[in-house]
């Protein structure tokens, strides 16, 4: 096991993935590792938004390098914004914490009917509360899918009905459930979550409603793979959240675990044999091979370039800027004008990053700022592709909501005639537009319909 190592490139020999370049994060030394095949299980890229429920170290670098070496990127703009997270408390915020979906089984979501209502939630009488999910979606109520619940919360807050100091939150109230079932039942069901909430906010959800707001949680997009989980680069596999498969535009609850288990336990162990069986006579390729030399040199040059900038701003400054742009223009709601604007902004962030970032310390030692810089450089490039993808998809579909394409009552409007495809983007070189390949979604035995939650 190689703890504290980060993959910084994939090595391709004769068109096949044959190894990786990794950086030992303790010594800073670059290492070459050979393999007959390469399997990526690197997770999602939600941290492109800076604030997300992902762990701080989650990044897109391994995937992005694979993409730049020929692996198509599928549906990059499909990101899941989870409705029940603890809201942002200030500029210092480093990550967001998910309150489990299960809370919506017993919690009721509401905002005051009056704008800027300054009263405590417990002082607002029943008839002055707007249980907006129950009002808009009587059939499903508080249990509508994540994308719908998230957009509905955003809509209320954008209209000025948000609560808390930031006004960017809604209430998730357990008072009815506690009255109905008793505190002990609620404690048995959600005790650990209530405790986490109390630790973070200092408020007791047994006596006052939780405040929640949507946050980036999962990326449905990822490296395009075939049914064997192989990317468009022979011998390069992607499993779990880092590939694009299984979830379409809107992952449903618990299915990320399902994918992790299915890909890792049941699919890949069978399918990778298909590739490896043909490699049985291929001897181990020494890591002195020129392809390893070249890949390592490229990584080294990138690190040197970053270290040499010695600008004025820390890496997080650019990451936060990028996150704000992505959240604002390529988050819960997108539109053509905003996306065009965002593309320019991301390009500007990219230029500023490469001329003004400051990375202290040494590249040949433990250097967390350098680690972050290498990741953010790739997030910035990915951000542009996500924007291109969102711009090219002129429909609303799952987590991708284009404001121009909605029904009269504000629901997502899909266009199955023109957009029933997976977008698979091919990297064409620095500053070259990526090429869009379309994998048609063909259904033989079911008819495509739109589900109504009304």
């Amino acid at each position: 096991m190689f703890a504290r190592h980060e993959m910084l490139d994939v090595v391709i020999i004769d068109g096949k993935a044959r190894g990786i370049i990794a950086r030992n994060l303790v010594s800073g030394k670059l290492e070459r590792h050979f393999g007959h095949a390469v399997v990526l299980a690197t997770g999602g890229y939600g941290n492109v938004f800076f604030l997300s429920t992902n762990a701080m170290g989650s990044n897109v670098t391994a995937n992005w390098k694979a993409h730049k070496k020929g692996a198509f990127f599928g549906n990059p703009c499909f990101t899941q914004i989870h409705p029940t997270c603890i809201p942002v408390s200030g500029d210092h915020q480093s990550k967001l914490t998910l309150m489990s979906e299960s809370l919506r089984n017993d919690g009721r979501i509401w905002v005051p009917k009056k704008k800027d209502d300054a009263r405590k939630p417990t002082e607002i009488p029943e008839d002055e509360r707007d249980y907006y999910l129950e009002r808009r979606y009587p059939a499903f109520g508080n249990l509508v899918p994540r994308d719908i619940a998230s957009r509905a919360a955003k809509e209320r807050c954008d209209e000025g009905f948000g609560v808390g100091t930031s006004k960017m939150a809604v209430y998730l109230d357990f008072a009815d459930a506690i009255n109905r079932l008793g505190k002990s039942v609620i404690e048995a069901r959600y005790g650990n979550l209530f405790e986490i909430y109390e630790k973070i906010t200092g408020e007791d959800p047994y006596t006052t409603p939780m405040r929640i707001y949507p946050a980036v949680h999962y990326t449905m997009g990822g490296l395009w793979v075939d049914y064997n989980l192989m990317t468009t680069v022979p011998g390069l596999y992607a499993t779990g959240e880092c590939n694009f498969s299984d979830h379409g535009a809107n992952r449903l609850g618990a299915s990320a675990l399902m994918q992790g288990l299915a890909d890792g336990y049941f699919v890949l162990p069978i399918t990778i044999g298909e590739f490896l069986s043909k490699e049985i006579r291929t001897p181990a390729i020494p890591t002195t091979h020129e392809a390893f030399e070249k890949a390592e040199k490229e990584v080294e040059e990138r690190i040197t370039r970053l270290m040499k900038i010695q600008g004025t701003r820390p890496v997080d400054h650019f990451h936060k800027q990028l996150g704000k742009v992505m959240w604002e223009y390529c988050g819960m709601a997108r539109n053509a004008d905003g996306l065009q604007k965002a593309k320019k902004m991301v390009q500007e962030i990219r230029n500023n990053f490469w001329s003004d970032v400051r990375i202290p310390g040494d590249a040949n030692a433990m250097n967390p700022e350098l680690e972050k810089a290498l990741r953010v450089a790739d997030f910035i490039e990915l951000g542009e592709l996500m924007i291109d993808d969102a711009y090219s998809r002129n429909e609303s579909c799952g987590g991708h909501f284009r404001e121009e394409y909605k029904t009269e009552d504000g629901e997502a409007l899909r266009d199955d005639t023109n957009y029933a495809y997976v977008s698979a983007w091919e990297y064409k070189g620095d500053n070259q537009p990526s090429e869009l390949h379309k994998e048609s979604l063909v259904f033989d035995n079911v008819k495509l319909v739109q589900r109504s939650y009304k």
């Binding site: 701080m56 210092h92 986490i196 820390p314 997080d316 202290p360 310390g361 433990m366």
Partner: protein
């Protein structure tokens, strides 16, 4: 709030370290302890200083990476709480806070507050596999497990491997960690085929890493952010004895 931090700075495991003082004038009570360090580090980078290295990842108390010794206590003053979930509202304006790395010879210092806990990885690896059939997914309810057993196994499995038990133990013993990892499998039917070999190998690996012995003081249980019970140590000792008699 105004907070004075006395932080252990050490360039590497081979150079001597010392406390350095940092004053922070605008600490919000909503910040987590690690977010305060983020703000400080940004400032250090801007002023051309070397930022403080510390371990962290999930920041929601489940990955086991954060490992600060705060005012003489692993993960700070609250019970059942990791450093990342400790918020500044539990401190007062004007407080001085001492922050040190885990100190144990089996956890050598990498830099500042960052220590190498790969000894834990090696102990886990020594435990090896469990025998389980793959291929088709098994029916979820085909193997009945009594609720009290499942609960105990779950509580043991809550161990995040942060190392607070080692850091807080006067002997730098890893018994609470290893016993949690032994117990989570020993309590379940899936863990039975390799039960004896597992406990022997894990105890052997633990001793080889240079952790100290257990003298039943119980400080580990008090400081464990996941409130792992000492009962696990008793269970491991019994399993270890049984495994040796069986040989």
């Amino acid at each position: 709030m105004k907070i004075t931090l006395k932080v252990w700075r050490q360039k590497s495991g081979t150079t001597p370290g010392e406390f350095k003082t940092y004053t922070m004038n605008e600490v919000s009570e909503d910040m987590s302890f690690l977010e305060m360090f983020d703000v400080l580090n940004e400032e250090l980078v801007r002023t051309g200083d070397d930022p403080i290295a510390f371990d962290h990842d999930c920041r929601e108390g489940i990955c086991g990476m954060c490992s600060m010794y705060i005012n003489g206590r692993a993960h700070g003053p609250l019970t059942g709480t990791t450093t990342c979930q400790l918020h500044m509202r539990h401190f007062k304006d004007g407080d001085t806070i001492y922050v040190e790395p885990w100190r144990a010879s089996a956890f050598p210092i990498i830099k500042d507050l960052m220590v190498d806990r790969s000894a834990f990885d090696r102990v886990i690896q020594a435990g090896g596999f469990i025998s389980v059939n793959t291929g088709n997914a098994v029916d979820a309810n085909s193997l009945p497990i009594p609720k009290p057993d499942a609960d105990k196994a779950f509580d043991a499995a809550a161990c995040i491997g942060c190392g607070a038990c080692v850091a807080t133990c006067k002997n730098a013993s890893a018994m609470l960690f290893v016993s949690a990892k032994v117990s989570q499998l020993a309590l379940l039917p899936q863990g039975q085929p390799e039960r004896h070999i597992r406990v022997k190998k894990m105890v052997e690996a633990m001793d080889a890493e240079g952790f100290g012995n257990c003298t039943n003081t119980g400080a580990c249980e008090v400081e464990c952010p996941k409130e792992i019970s000492l009962e696990n140590i008793a269970r491991m000792n019994r399993d270890y004895l049984a495994a040796n008699i069986a040989d």
